[in-house]
Symmetry: C2
Subunit: 225 residues, 2 copies
Amino acid sequence: MSFVIPTLKTLALKGATKEFISVSTRLFGKTLGISQQMASNRLVKLAEMELIKRRRSGRGGQDILITREGMALLRKEYGDYQRIFQEARDIELSGKVSSGLGEGQYYLGQVEYIDQIEQMLGFKPFPGTLNITVTPEEYSKLDLLPDSAIIQIGGFEADGRTFGKADCIPASIDKIECAIIIPKRSHHTDVLEIISASQLRSKLKLEDGDGVIVNCKLRHCNFEA
Amino acid sequence: MSFVIPTLKTLALKGATKEFISVSTRLFGKTLGISQQMASNRLVKLAEMELIKRRRSGRGGQDILITREGMALLRKEYGDYQRIFQEARDIELSGKVSSGLGEGQYYLGQVEYIDQIEQMLGFKPFPGTLNITVTPEEYSKLDLLPDSAIIQIGGFEADGRTFGKADCIPASIDKIECAIIIPKRSHHTDVLEIISASQLRSKLKLEDGDGVIVNCKLRHCNFEA
DNA sequence: ATTACTAACAAGCGAGTAC
DNA sequence: TGTACTCGCTTGTTAGTAA
């Protein structure tokens, strides 16, 4: 699957990031230095992976648009290069405090999750989340994070039910240590759920609609064991 | 050769950009999701291509450092992503006017070169170059340019001599149209040679040591024919 | 513990071709 | 024009192993 990134990148450079662009397999193959057949094959596979959307256009042609997942892949790649050239400005997400129970809330009622969070993040979470509504553009900044910045919370089974996995991203709000928690299954793109050792809403005197900035913590990545 | 970029990128993320880092083929393979043998193989090939430098370190280990050529490759890749995410700030190189005959000068005495420049760049070059001394860091910004921004001037033979190729990059200085000319063979990393329709030195009233900024022109890239 | 060879296998690729 | 299938050939990959 080593062709995925270069192929996607080439499509992105042609402008398939925002709208459908017309792509012929012959010309596309030429720009990639491969045959028409392989170009066709790659587009088929990319479509199967749901990294691009394809649409037939009159007399045999086709139009291509990169999906959200595809863009997330490219954005992560971009983040890598920013880090290489040390222009990785800190990743900050800004949004507004909002009410409503998120799914992350649910995690804080399960002992297995609480124990994992305490062990992995170093604090015992307050049993409640602070919800922050962000724009999809802000949300997509999370894709810039390297894998090393993401802490996986494992799922488990209890009472015959399965409890899913979640990603945690260590962060801070107004210098207060916290973490973004993202349940693996559910894909919102507009609300961040924040956990912390204390109740952030009262500690920071936040009310619905107040603007907040979440600073994601980056760690240096080393070889894995 | 599709492994080159991902392998180099991984090494860069580990810190092989500035100094030798210790790399074991087993662990390196693990981070790349390939076998120890393949990791070894890739490092050998990267070294053959002179994209990395290798050095043995005690009891079988090895140290890796990415070469200038390797970094140039990564920087070009980085430029692509900047363009995808539309954060491609204009590429500007700043330096100081200097004297001395550059090699580019030589091109402007050959009719075959003059004709090509006029045809490709749209102006008949003044028979002399403006030399601009830049830091290696500034110079390396040229690696961010996409291939589509670079115009190739072909070589030729005459009088039993071979005359080499050159790259031209359309640019401007103080809104005056010009181009950077880079002979293919010679690798300076500290002086830019500028050609233009008129004598820039007199037109812009420049003297040795004056600071100038060269703005590279980017064109939109489309599918090639 | 290393690195890197060889041999067997798998995956990637392009030519030819059908639609 | 266009896409995409099958079929050989080539290349990439791993296991086993030597150093």
